[in-house]
Symmetry: C2
Subunit: 424 residues, 2 copies
C-alpha cells in the first residue's frame, strides 16, 4: 500500500533514503518560525483543516475549485481541505475582532492542500508559516511584516546573497489597469496574466494580454518605470532604519495571483532564481469585510512561507543541520536478575528529566554497548553484584571516559546538573 | 460565515469566550507529550492527513466507512481523512522497517477525523498523542508503553486519584469467544458488543450477545473472574518495579473496538468516571503484515491519547495553567521624530533574542504604557533628546522599578543576561 501522490511521510533519523522527508527537519523549521514570530510579538492561532467551500469561492470565484480538495461531507455540506489560511483568519477575526487590542499580530503554521498537476518539487500539501497584522493602516505594519519575513529567513542562516524580497503594489497595478481602459470583469484575469509573466513564453503572455486589451510592451514599460507609490518608499525607509534595506527591492514584476490584495504585495525569491517563491503576501484590506458580509471592516496584511521550497533551498545551501537521535543515559541490563532493580532506577532517572534508553528484553552486552554508542549516550550505567552480594552501579561518563562504582542511590547526584536533554 | 460543526478554532489569549479553544493550551499539551516521549527514547514521525480509503477498510471492513470523511479526489482515487494513525504507521514501517534498529519507539501527534453524530464533548476532529513500539515481542514492551502513558498523564499534574489504566487481554477474549462456540464471522461484532457493555442498557447488551450465541451472565462471569493471562502478570510486575503499579488494574471489561488487536489492550479513565476514555491501545502483531500484504511481519503495540478529553479533564481538575502573552521589552515611541532611531535599536534588541513590542504607528504615551503593562514587559524603553540635543535611552526595569538614562549603545549591556523569553 502506497501513500497518495504529492503527500509526504515524515520519518525519524536515520532517513531511509535520500528522497525521504525528515520529521526532525520539519520540527527544526517549525521551531525557527515560532521563535522568530514570538520575538516579534506575534501570537499563535489555528483553524480547522477543512472549511466550507464557500469560504474560498466567495472572492476567488468558482475557478479556484479546480485546484481544491473539495467534496460533499456526509451531512451534504460542500467542504474543502484548506488551500490557504487567510480566509480562515478573516473568518476568525470577523467573529471575535472586538475581543483583541488592535493591531493584532498573529501567526500560524498550517498544513495546506492543493490538487495540482504533479510536477517536480510541487507537492499537493505543504506547511506554511503565516504571519498577519490586522487593524493597522500605515506602512509601519508593512515594514514590521517584511522585517519578520527577512529575520525568519536569516534565522536559518540565509543572507542577502541568498534571497531578496521583491516589493510591488497591487494598488498601482489596479490604477494602471483602470487608466488604460481595463474592464472590471477582466481585472482578476489581468492580475493572473501579470503574475505568470515570468513563467510563460513571450507569445503566450502577449496573446493573453491582447485579449484583455493590453500590449505586452505597455506592461513591460510600466514594470520598468516602477514609480514607487502607495507608501512603498516609507516601507523601504523604515526597513533601512532597521539595517534591512539590502534584503528588499521594488519590482513591479510581482503582483500575486490571489484576488484579494489591495495594497503592497511581496514575494521572496532565492537570488540565483533556482526555486519557486519562498514567501508571498500583501495587504488585503477588504477581505474581513467580505467574509463577514459587511459586519466587520478592518484592514489587514500578511505573508505565507512554505516549508517545501524553504527546505529545498536550505538543503542546496547546506544550511540544514545534521539531525540525529541522542540520549542522556543508556541503562545497560547485563544480568536479567537485576532487571527489576534496573527498572526502578530507570524510572527515577527519567523522573529527573533525563532521556533514558535500555533493552526492553534480554540482550547481549556488546549489542547494548553498541546501541549506547549509536545513541551518543552521555552516561552508560549498569548494575552489578559485588563479591559481598551488594548491588553496585557502574557509571561511565562517555565524554571523559571516567568510570565509577557507586551505590544505586547516588546515581542522581552523580548525573547532576541535568545535561542538555536529548531532543533531536 | 461559520466554521464546520465539530471543528475547532484555536484562538490566542485572551480567549474571546468560555467556549473558545486556546492555542496556548494546545501548545502546552503538545510540549508535554513531546517531552515525555523524548525522555522515554521515542522519536517523532508523521504521515499525510489523507490516505487511500483502502488503508482503513482493509482490516475494519466497509462498516468503518460510515464514520469516515471519505471522498473521490480529482484523480478518482477513493481517499479518506485519517481517523487514526496506526494504519499509516504500519504502512510506513512496512516500507522501511529494515532501515531501523529494532525495537522502534516512535511517537506522533496527528490531527484525526471522524464523521460522527454530534454529541456534547464529541468533536469531529481531535489531536492524538500516538506512541508505538515495533519489533518487540515480550511484555517489557507493554510495560514500557504503559509507563509512558502513565508518566505523560503525571506530567500534567494528574495522580493516581485522578486516573487509572485498565488492562485487559484481547487474546483472552478471543479464547473465550472460540471456546464458547462463537462463529469466526461474528468475532468483530462480538468485540464491538463487549466494547459497548458499559455504555448501553442491560437489555440492549443482552439482546446483542444473544444474537451472537452468548448470554450476558456468561460474559459478566468471565469479566469477574478475570484470570490474568497473556503476560499481564509480568506487565504488572514490571510496572511495580517502577513504582507505577498503583496506576493500573486488570479489568476484562475493556476489550477495545478496533479489529486489529491481538494481545494486551488498555484504556485509561478518570477515576470519577465522568469522561470518556483518556487513552486506549494495545498490541497488534498482525497489522503490519496485513498492510504490507504479507511482505513484512513484525510485532507491534501502541496507544493513542486524545487532546479533547485530556483538556476537559485538566480543566475540571484546575490543572491547566493560566496562559498569557508576555514580552521582554516594550519600546515606547513617544516622539515620532525618533521613530527611525527607535527602529534601529528595536532590531538590535530582537537580534539578541528578546521579544520586543512597540507601536506600529503614532500612539499616545499613556496608551503605550498601558499596553506595556498588559504585556507584562520586563523592560520599558524610550528614546528622548536631552537638553543638549543628544539622544538618550530611558530604560526602566518594571520588576524592580529602577530607571536609568543611558546612551542607546548601552541598552544591550543593561538587558543582559537574556531573560526567560516571552513565549507563552
Amino acid at each position: 500500500m502506497e501513500r497518495l501522490p504529492g503527500f509526504r511521510d515524515f520519518y525519524p533519523e536515520p532517513l531511509p533514503d535520500a528522497e525521504a522527508w525528515s520529521s526532525s527537519a520539519r520540527r527544526y523549521i517549525f521551531e525557527k518560525w515560532r521563535s522568530v514570530a514570538t520575538r516579534y510579538g506575534f501570537v499563535e492561532y489555528d483553524g480547522p483543516p477543512i472549511e466550507p467551500l464557500e469560504l474560498y469561492t466567495l472572492k476567488s470565484g468558482d475557478e479556484i475549485v479546480a485546484q481544491l480538495y473539495n467534496f460533499l461531507d456526509k451531512g451534504n455540506r460542500a467542504v474543502a481541505l484548506r488551500p490557504e489560511l487567510t480566509p480562515t483568519l478573516a473568518r476568525m477575526i470577523a467573529a471575535h475582532a472586538r475581543n483583541y487590542k488592535k493591531p493584532l499580530k498573529w501567526f500560524s503554521m498550517p498544513q495546506l492542500f492543493r490538487y495540482e498537476r504533479q510536477q517536480k518539487g510541487r507537492l499537493r500539501e505543504h506547511f506554511q508559516f503565516n504571519a498577519d497584522i490586522v487593524g493597522e493602516q500605515g506602512p509601519g505594519a508593512e515594514a514590521e511584516l517584511i522585517a519578520l519575513a527577512i529575520d525568519t529567513l536569516r534565522s536559518f542562516g540565509l543572507g542577502s546573497d541568498d534571497f531578496v524580497i521583491r516589493l510591488s503594489s497591487r494598488a498601482a497595478w489596479q490604477e494602471f489597469f483602470i487608466k488604460n481602459g481595463g474592464k472590471p470583469e477582466d481585472e482578476y484575469q489581468f492580475y493572473q496574466a501579470i503574475d505568470k509573466l515570468e513563467r510563460e513564453t513571450e507569445d503566450a503572455n502577449r496573446e493573453k494580454l491582447k485579449k484583455l486589451g493590453f500590449s505586452l510592451e505597455q506592461v513591460y514599460d510600466f514594470i520598468k518605470k516602477a514609480e514607487p507609490v502607495d507608501g512603498l518608499q516609507a516601507i523601504i525607509e523604515n526597513l533601512r532604519a532597521r539595517g534591512l534595506s539590502e534584503f528588499v527591492k521594488i519590482d513591479y514584476g510581482v503582483i500575486r495571483g490571489l484576488a484579494y490584495y489591495t495594497g503592497m504585495v511581496l514575494e521572496a525569491f532565492d537570488k540565483k532564481g533556482e526555486f519557486r517563491a519562498i514567501a508571498g503576501g500583501g495587504r488585503y484590506d477588504n477581505l474581513v469585510k467580505l467574509i463577514s458580509k459587511g459586519k466587520v471592516d478592518i484592514p489587514a496584511l500578511g505573508f505565507g512561507m512554505g516549508d517545501v521550497v524553504l527546505c529545498e533551498l536550505l538543503k542546496e545551501r547546506k544550511l540544514l543541520p545534521q539531525f540525529k537521535q541522542t540520549i542522556d543515559v543508556y541503562f545497560c541490563i547485563e544480568y536479567e536478575s537485576l532487571r527489576l532493580e534496573s527498572l526502578s532506577l530507570i524510572q527515577k532517572v527519567r523522573d529527573s528529566s533525563y532521556t533514558v534508553e535500555y533493552p526492553l528484553s534480554s540482550a547481549r552486552y556488546d549489542k547494548q554497548f553498541k546501541r549506547a554508542v549509536e545513541l551518543d549516550a552521555t552516561w552508560f550505567i549498569k548494575l552489578e553484584k559485588n563479591s559481598s552480594g551488594k548491588i553496585v552501579a557502574m557509571v561511565k561518563n562517555t565524554r571523559n571516559r571516567e568510570e565509577r562504582a557507586i551505590t544505586p542511590d547516588e546515581i542522581l547526584n552523580l548525573l547532576k546538573p541535568i545535561p542538555k536533554n536529548g531532543i533531536i
